[in-house]
């Protein structure tokens, strides 16, 4: 069905929707999203070491991880799980520590059909501007380019507050 990740970011709506199908049953995909020893094998960018400091998968449980670059640069992220995380629904806040206070709310659902699982992430941002700043420069770019890019990102994010 879906060969690549389907990303939808509508103008004027502070959402991002991400959909992708995986050739694995739902329980396994859920484990890959909740067990730190599995998470570190896929979530961080290539050539980055991912260190999970905390991953308390329960209602009110906190999480924090760091992506460490080959040059020693560190990119921290943290948040809290809301509601009992299950394969039906995992809700959590998400905050990049380079832009404190710019928090998104992510809801992840897993749907299984014939042994294959569709992952759907619905992210809600505080504003369209914050959403756009994240897509333009946040994770994808900032983490790969080092601190110069982070400075530029922060400069863009400041007026949003």
């Amino acid at each position: 069905m879906m060969a690549t990740t389907q990303i939808t970011a509508e103008p004027r709506l502070p959402f991002v929707d991400i959909k992708r199908e995986f050739d694995a049953p739902r329980d396994l995909v859920f484990r890959a999203h909740t067990e730190p020893k599995l998470l570190v094998q896929w979530l961080g960018p290539d050539k980055y070491e991912m260190v999970v400091e905390r991953y308390d998968v329960r209602d009110g449980g906190a999480w924090r991880y760091v992506h460490r670059g080959p040059d020693g640069s560190e990119w921290g992220f943290h948040g809290v799980f809301h509601g009992v995380p299950s394969p039906d629904r995992m809700v959590q806040t998400f905050e990049f520590e380079g832009a404190p206070g710019h928090v998104s709310l992510d809801a992840l659902t897993l749907e299984e059909h014939d042994g294959r699982t569709v992952v759907h992430i619905h992210s809600v941002f505080q504003s369209v501007e914050a959403r756009d700043a994240m897509i333009q420069g946040g994770m994808a770019d900032g983490m790969n380019q080092g601190y110069e890019r982070l400075d530029a990102l922060l400069a863009r994010l400041v007026p949003v507050a």
Binding site: I7, R12, F22, L28, V128, E129, I135
Partner: protein, 113 residues
């Protein structure tokens, strides 16, 4: 930048405007020429052209009494590049997850053949 992208995506959200852009890839056209294949009036086409012009997707010049519309491709390129990096980021992440899930399933099969 974000404002222009919103304008571009807003302009592209309408099928008539996308059809107008597609026709302009073959060369400049007047409002009358643009309106011909559509079941809408020239004033309606003019409103669409105003939106496209506001998003920087077309520019308009005068030829005698007619106004010509001209396609401006740069904002379209920006619009596709905008999401492309983010898309690459997620594609790479999800390919790693594909590999992990395949390895986990192979492991399970080995344990319970």
């Amino acid at each position: 930048m974000a404002d222009q992208l919103s304008a571009v995506f807003g302009a592209l959200a309408d099928p008539t405007r996308r059809a107008i852009l597609a026709r302009l890839t073959n060369g400049d056209l007047t409002v009358a020429e643009l309106a011909a294949p559509f079941a809408v009036s020239q004033p309606a086409i003019s409103r669409h052209l105003k939106v496209l012009e506001g998003a920087g997707l077309i520019s308009r010049t005068r030829r005698a009494t007619a106004r010509l519309s001209h396609l401006q491709a740069a904002p379209l390129k920006d619009a596709t590049e905008w999401l492309a990096r983010y898309q690459d980021f997620w594609d790479a992440r999800h390919r790693r997850l594909d590999a992990l899930l395949a390895a986990l399933q192979a492991e399970q099969k080995e344990r319970n053949p």
